[in-house]
């Protein structure tokens, strides 16, 4: 019954829009107008064009005022600052160009709105002008390209040093696992063929005949020591996934049948990040929203939401199926000591399959 009602309402809304359009149209027929813009239309529409420019500016200002705090969270990796400075300098260029060109476009539309007896200024070409606005973008872009390529090489060149720690990120529909190399510092060979070994206890398909794999540690929560370079090796067992860690300005796809790579050094522990003023403000804001939502839930007789505490997150950022939206892993960045203590409590692969 309600379905019928909704259908009726939708149809009625469409019909009323239709009828409003029709009424509007009929109300004009007695005036002897054409369907071609006349001076009155030009005047009116030209002014609206100028108003639209104001709308664009106001929308921009409003958005930054209202939502500016959600933009690009504070970076927590060593290349984060470089990334952010490239981002904001690109943004500066974009804003400058956007502000000027939108102003010219809409102002001209307003200023040169047509009049019956006016004639347009015949201007077909001007080589000098065109050279100017070919060359200036070229120079600006050359700068951005060079800056971009420098950062790209800096971020993507993985230098294997003694200090670096190798961690495997393992993706499957719809969760993440991490594998640490253990005492030998070498990840054992692995393949999806081994997943069914040991009654399914071989969670990421480690080759049990490879001695390097026996001391590997497989976990569901990613712990990272602060200040040490982490080299991630990504694998996926079923479909494409993407390991996205926005706070570390890091992302790489996980591709079945292939190992991909991304490296960064975390420079702020979870605890440190929680203490930054930005994060305190953000958590406060979120908890206010959650408290409000909880009130509604309680009224409906449901459980209230837990208060939010900040943690770094790893998200899946490549469409992977129904629960793509909930494929996540908590990342904990901690001091070297705490990390070692945590690691010593984990079972190795050899212990786990016993």
């Amino acid at each position: 019954m309600t379905i019928l009602l909704i259908f009726t309402i939708l149809i009625l809304i469409s019909i009323s829009m239709w009828q409003i359009s029709k009424m509007f149209e009929l109300s004009q027929t007695n005036v002897n107008t054409t369907e071609i813009a006349d001076d009155k239309d030009n005047d009116y529409q030209g002014k609206l064009m100028f108003a639209f420019l104001v709308f664009i500016y106001l929308l921009t200002l409003f958005s930054f005022y209202q939502w500016g705090d959600v933009l690009l969270p504070k970076a927590a990796s060593d290349h984060g600052d470089l990334y952010d400075s490239l981002m904001w300098s690109t943004f500066a260029v974009i804003f400058f160009v956007q502000t000027i060109t939108q102003a010219l476009l809409h102002y001209f539309a307003y200023k040169y709105r047509g009049e019956k007896n006016k004639k347009a200024f015949f201007l077909a070409d001007n080589d000098r002008l065109e050279a100017i606005w070919t060359i200036i973008p070229m120079i600006v872009l050359a700068g951005l390209i060079l800056f971009g390529l420098y950062t790209w090489t800096d971020i993507m060149t993985v230098e294997e040093n003694e200090d670096a720690m190798i961690v495997e990120l393992y993706a499957q529909q719809y969760n993440w696992k991490a594998r640490y190399a253990g005492n030998d510092g070498v990840l054992g060979d692995a393949n999806v063929r081994f997943l069914n070994d040991f009654d399914g206890k071989n969670l990421v398909g480690i080759d049990a005949t490879d001695p390097n794999g026996l001391d590997d540690v497989v976990v569901q929560e990613l712990h990272l020591p602060v200040g040490r370079e982490i080299i991630f090796k990504m694998r996926s067992q079923d479909v494409l996934h993407s390991a996205y860690m926005p706070h570390f300005r890091a992302q790489m796809n996980c591709v079945p049948g292939m190992i991909t790579e991304f490296a960064f050094t975390p420079i702020m522990t979870t605890e440190q990040m929680r203490q930054t003023p930005e994060m305190i403000a953000k958590v406060k804001k979120i908890n206010k929203i959650r408290a409000k939502n909880s009130e509604e839930l309680v009224l409906k007789g449901e459980e209230p939401l837990e208060p939010y505490i900040f943690d770094y997150i790893l998200l899946c950022n490549k469409i992977c199926g129904a629960s793509h939206y909930n494929m996540q892993m908590k990342i904990i960045v901690e001091t070297e000591d705490k990390f070692k203590k945590w690691m010593s409590n984990q079972q190795t692969f050899a212990q786990f399959i016993q």
Partner: protein
């Protein structure tokens, strides 16, 4: 050229043989085929937009129960709560329909067919039969795509890019069963249709131009359609090959794109393939595709802006050169969709370089449009408003491309809502504005009547405000790090503070969506009851307005007009009128002010 000149007797003969079926259904007349493309495209557009409104409801008020879901989604929305698989199916089919069926076939198919013969002075397309087949293949692929919505397990749901293995394995998601098969078959037929159409456009422009219509006198619309057709011929076959290989992987056990897969407790037999190969093949079409969508819109805009500014388009040669540059560059930038796909980072550097180069011809186009407005005598018809707004969204959306085209910056915004905001503005909304501008401008040519201008104004302003209202705030969600194609962001309390942005976006989307009903009313009503048009309502210089209002086979009664000047003699000094049609010979001593 001689092949185009059908003799009088032949024209006459055609006229007698016409029945209802040959005139309205299996027509070989380019004007009728253009109308068929337009109406099919608009119909698909209604479906595509309606889908987006449905998932905007879900995104603004996630996981809540809505009766409207039950109405449209039935068993896929048990108790009015949308199923996550259906959410993915909706975004997938929305993308596919809007990109291919509305903005490729609906836009390019309509106006290439209508304008190429009329603006170059030809009796019809080089092959009317191929043209008819192209339309009916498009129709067939549309029917298959719609049919896939009614499949038991649901339509394709792997995103419009249908990356394998997700799209290859029915175990991975329900949409990858029969729904995906229909999607692939539909697209294969679509590619065939698009190729037939494109070949026809290319041959027609090269061979059938009337006397005096040199390439340097072609209107920019024709340049845009011509180059678009060439990009289509170069890149669409690659999509076809990707689709065929994927069909083989799915149905015949090959391993082009699949390797080492374990799903639902079993190891599959695939060995040695790579999904990255698919990504290369897909984006080799996928990126040129955005220009296949955008260039015709820019062509239409050039024509509408020049006509309504009563000024020649500024820098005709630069405009042609930038179309050529964009077309060339568009085929060597596909890798910027794959910076973090696992391909060699060095390739990322190369693609960053080529991608950012596209900003240069794009900037030239934007500046030239702005200069065309300068000191013009702007006739602000609805078509003109849409064209100006196109330039505005082209700039706003294009600029964020500088961020996404930069491999470094792409790391953190790749596949977030920032990307969604970017491409919707630069190719979605811009191309849609191009379509609207074209419809308002050439409606008199197609239907012999005018559309109501005041309804056009209302339609324009609601749409323009709505489009910015939807896509500007979306950049913020993306910069905050929210991935696209998320059914809801409630699984991450971290994103709780963007919930209100999603509500604002959805409200703007509903308003803009509702405004399209005004357009539909205006369109349908004007076909039957619009004011009758004069032969050249916009006082335009191009050839299509020299053809009689009443449609006829062969377009012109008697001889095809000859062309003596370029298409942009607006407000030429020393002339009484503010436009000189291309058919008017140069006066003694008059220079053709077009270098």
């Amino acid at each position: 050229m001689s092949t185009a000149v059908t003799t009088e007797e032949e024209v006459h003969e055609h006229h007698h043989k016409e029945t209802f079926i040959t005139k309205y259904i299996f027509s070989q007349d380019h004007k009728m085929i253009a109308k068929q493309y337009l109406i099919t495209g608009l119909f698909m557009g209604i479906i595509g937009i309606a889908m987006s409104l449905l998932f905007r409801v879900q995104l603004a008020w996630p996981e809540q129960s809505f009766k409207i879901f039950e109405v449209f989604l039935g068993k896929w929305a048990p108790e009015g709560v949308m199923d996550p698989n259906v959410y993915l199916a909706l975004v997938t089919i929305h993308g596919t329909i809007m990109v291919f069926f509305v903005l490729t076939a609906g836009l390019s198919g309509t106006f290439s067919n209508l304008l190429i013969p009329l603006q170059i002075g030809a009796r019809d397309m080089a092959s009317g039969l191929l043209n008819m087949i192209a339309y009916w293949l498009f129709f067939l692929s549309s029917v298959l795509m719609i049919a896939s919505l009614f499949v038991e397990a649901g339509p394709a749901a792997a995103g419009w890019t249908i990356y394998p293995p997700l799209s290859a394995l029915p175990q991975a998601q329900p949409g990858s069963g029969l729904g995906m098969t229909l999607w692939l078959v539909s697209m294969a037929i679509f590619v065939a249709s698009s190729l037939l159409g494109s070949l026809n456009y290319i041959v027609t422009v090269i061979n059938l131009r009337t006397k005096g219509m040199s390439f340097s006198r072609l209107p920019l619309t024709i340049w845009a359609f011509f180059i678009t057709a060439i990009i289509g011929v170069v890149s669409f076959p690659v999509l076809l090959s990707a689709a065929l290989l994927l069909i083989m992987d799915r149905s015949f056990g090959t391993s082009f794109f699949l390797s080492d897969i374990f799903i639902q407790g079993e190891v599959l037999h695939y060995q040695g393939g790579s999904p990255v190969l698919y990504e290369h093949l897909f984006w080799f079409l996928g990126h040129p595709e955005v220009y296949i969508v955008l260039l015709p819109a820019l062509g239409i805009t050039s024509e509408v802006i020049a006509t309504n500014a009563r000024k020649p388009i500024f820098g005709y040669r630069a405009m042609v050169a930038s179309i050529l540059a964009i077309a060339f560059l568009s085929t060597i930038v596909w890798g910027h969709h794959m910076f973090i796909s696992g391909m060699n980072p060095f390739l990322g550097s190369v693609f960053t370089f080529t991608t950012l180069l596209i900003a240069i011809p794009s900037a030239v186009k934007a500046f030239n449009y702005i200069t065309t407005l300068w000191k013009g005598n702007l006739q602000l018809n609805p078509a003109m408003l849409f064209s100006i707004a196109l330039v505005s969204t082209f700039i706003s959306g294009g600029l964020t491309g500088i961020i996404l085209g930069d491999s470094t910056l792409d790391i953190n915004v790749h596949d977030t809502y920032f990307v969604v905001a970017h491409f919707h503005l630069v190719m979605g909304i811009s191309a849609l504005y191009g379509l609207f501008a074209g419809v308002y401008h050439w409606f008199p040519k197609m239907f012999k009547r005018m559309m109501n201008k005041n309804l056009g104004y209302i339609h324009f302003w609601i749409t323009a405000v709505g489009a910015y209202g939807v896509f500007f705030p979306m950049h913020f969600i993306g910069m905050a790090g929210l991935p696209r194609r998320y059914y809801t962001n409630t699984a991450f309390p971290y994103f709780d503070d963007i919930a209100d942005i999603n509500i604002v976006i959805s409200i703007f989307a509903f308003i803009a969506g509702a405004a399209q009903i005004i357009f539909l009313y205006n369109f349908i009503h004007s076909i039957y009851y619009g004011k009758e048009t004069t032969q050249n309502p916009w006082k335009s210089t191009t050839l299509e307005w020299t053809a009689p209002i009443e449609h006829m086979h062969g377009n012109w009664d008697g001889e095809i007009p000859h062309v003596y000047r370029w298409a942009y003699d607006y407000s030429k000094p020393g002339k009484k009128d503010d436009y000189v049609p291309q058919t008017v010979p140069l006066e003694k001593g008059e220079e053709e002010l077009q270098h």
